[in-house]
């Protein structure tokens, strides 16, 4: 079942060696989410 992201406040923690935050941001915005903050981490 799809996650209901409409109107939800979303925190994005992207990964430089995985999926970076800006790509996640575009995707979840298309689901109707409100992005509160997003950051791309380097886990290494």
């Amino acid at each position: 079942m799809a996650l209901d992201l409409k109107g939800k406040k979303v925190i994005i923690i992207g990964d430089r060696d995985g999926v970076p935050a800006p790509a996640i941001e575009e995707a979840v915005k298309s689901a109707g989410a409100e992005v509160i903050f997003s950051a791309t981490e380097c886990f290494v």
Binding site: G14, G18, A21, E26, A31, F37
Partner: protein
């Protein structure tokens, strides 16, 4: 998760209704994704940052999980995430994040 982001997550959980918050991860490996998921649910596993001993219990998903994918516009998801969906070990990553969410998320 780095100290600055832990502080920002903590502040967001205090400012907004935690029930309305969703954390979406983009970690490239199951282990790093799992650690980040733990940080926003049971607290910083390294006991070093602002979330050490702080159990926020937030809802946490990985962008590769099918529930998230299905919520997004398929064209946008394919453009933004499609490539990494093929490259990363989706099964291992999503299993680990789901396990932690089901165990520790309060919402």
């Amino acid at each position: 998760m780095d100290m600055e982001n832990q502080a920002r997550v903590k502040a967001a959980a205090e400012k907004y209704n935690p029930e309305e918050l969703v954390v979406i991860l983009g970690g490239g490996e199951a282990e790093s994704s799992g650690l980040a998921a733990e940080t926003v649910t049971v607290g910083d596993p390294a006991f070093a940052g602002p979330l050490a001993g702080v159990s926020l219990g937030l809802k946490v998903y990985h962008i590769l999980e099918d529930e998230v994918k299905e919520a997004c516009d398929p064209k946008v998801y394919e453009e933004q995430i499609g490539m990494m969906e093929m490259v990363l070990d989706k099964e291992a990553i999503t299993q680990e994040v789901r396990r932690i969410r089901e165990q520790y998320s309060k919402y």
